[in-house]
Amino acid sequence: MITEDLVKKSSGLRQKWEDEVKKIVAKHSDQKENWTTVSDLGIKRIYGPEDIKDMDFERDIAYPGQYPYLRGCQPTGYRGKYWTFRMFSGMGTAVETNKRWHYLLATGQTGLSTAFDFPTLMGYDTDSPKAKGECGKVGVAIDTIEDFRDLIQGIPLDKITTSMTINPPATILWAMYIACAQQQGIPLNKIGGTIQNDMLKEFIAQKTFMCPPEPSVKLISDTIEFGTKYVPKWNTVSISGYHIREAGSTAVQELAFTLRDGMEYVEDVIRRKGLQVDEFAPRLSFFFNAHIDFFEEIAKLRAARRIWSKAMRERYGAKDPRSLWMRFHTQTAGCSLTAQQPYNNVVRTAIEALAGVLGGTQSLHTNSLDEVLCLPSDHAVQIALRTQQIIAEETGVANTIDPLAGSYFVEALTNEMEEKAWEYIHKIDDMGGMVAAIEKGFPQLEISDASYKFQKQIDAQEKIMIGVNKYVQEDEQVDIPIVEIDDSIEAEQLKRLAEVKRKRDGRKVAETLKDIAVACKKGENVMPYCIEAVKNYATVQEICDVYREVYGEYRDPGIY
């Protein structure tokens, strides 16, 4: 792509420019000595042809829909269809969340995304002592299929895709979705959606785990196998860097740990289930963070596609192009938002969303300005959604595909992110894979290092957060409305759960739970048994207790 002749010419010009710079800097020194990205990659004053001289257009860049898919998986980019506007929602009871869903669909959202409360995420029912004070607070409370039916009331399951942010109990929530579809007479090959179902990142970052890493990966392989056979339009795992980044990682760590997690799942399914990689890989999906450092984020997303396609082809021998496509959802960075001067968060989110779009995301969630303080209000979530609509329909940035390709800076940064990510990936390979690395505490400690360093940089004003360590408004009164989840929700949910437990056939529940235990012990796929259990009103916790009993319970080692 870059000819020797061009590099030669450019070097001469660059020398001249550098001489000029020296003169100027001698008179007016730069504002600071080290210029770095938000995750501390060094940034040069300028980039030129010599910075990407080893790049080969066909091998490294090419066109959208062409290997290595740097410029996107689909040949037509956003011209055929914008990314999916998928705002995350879930609060209080299923009935209330269902109301929010209908509001969002009426506002122009095109896909649904659910947040569950902590008891549901951790596999406890609302009546568990561990759940006290948590019901409905950070998401919707689901105990039984009865709640799930309320959640999806009036949503056409064969037309709207739903993403569920659920991990340890993913088999169970997915079983509820499947059971509801079956009961509505919708064939399983017609339903589509995503379960997050990415357990490795829980140990690394988000900490809603249940069983140890090894059996947790087994449950994921069960869903991948079941999906491959019976629910072909479902994304059975959304391999997530989002939480890794929110836990304080750098962009490179997010890239490396997420992709290495994905590789671990691929290896497990091949080894444990005997499936061919091309049978299941096309349904693997990803989820990244879009942080505030604009170019670093764009480079990260572009590099992610190239790393994945190379890994799938070279490491696992995938041949189907769809196996090589990294399809991903992006969410703007919650951790970049500030409680101080919260309206500034609208601006941050817009820039982050733009990075996601220029990075070629296929689905996007924009954070609401109040999310650093509470769950989003109707008004705040509308501004966040409008942000995406403005980017899509007013700014023109979606008119052409991957408009930053060929930029000396963006390509050099993309290459650098990729190289550094591979270094991590190879290090984890050498440890014996991601499960082994997690057991050693490796990714956890790397993230701790990064987040502590970043906090110190903020305190020292080496990194800037407007309103927090610069342009601080003394005696600021934050005057935005705060959404509160009323504690009465808990009492209401307890009543509903008690009612379901009273009405159901207890013997049938016990039987189905026993079947799950037997399947776990034999190493069988648990999905058919879970579907049967939830149809008979087994609760989330009852099934999770079976998992905990058979596989053991993981406790946070508290690595810092």
Binding site: M122, K130, G133, E134, V138, T338, L373, C374, V478, R555
Partner: protein
Amino acid sequence: MAERKIRILLAKPGLDGHDRGAKVLARCFRDAGFEVIYTGCHQTPEQIAAAAIQEDVDVVGLSCLSGAHNYLFPQVVQLLKGEGADDIMVIGGGIIPEQDMQALYDAGLKSIFTPGATLDSLVKWINTNVTPRA
């Protein structure tokens, strides 16, 4: 005899898994010369109170971002009191809305730190307000 170091128990009560802040503080307090015990996530108030007493700490720092602080924080204070350990100071942090603060102070929390607090200010606060128990 060397002066006894301040001992801090940092704990994540409830089911919340957002432990970035707690871990950053654990390192920061360690670097500041305090003795730090970090419980990891998903501790019940009972486990936290028991650990605080057993480890003979001077202060307990609770971190919660799930919105369950109104229940969990006062619960820890109550349990310590019930065990006659009300000389162990309890402080809190996380996503704590302004309007919840007074009730938490009334329940016995000594201070509450929210996003934006600098590490230095936290170390300073501990050094000013905590004296190692005899």
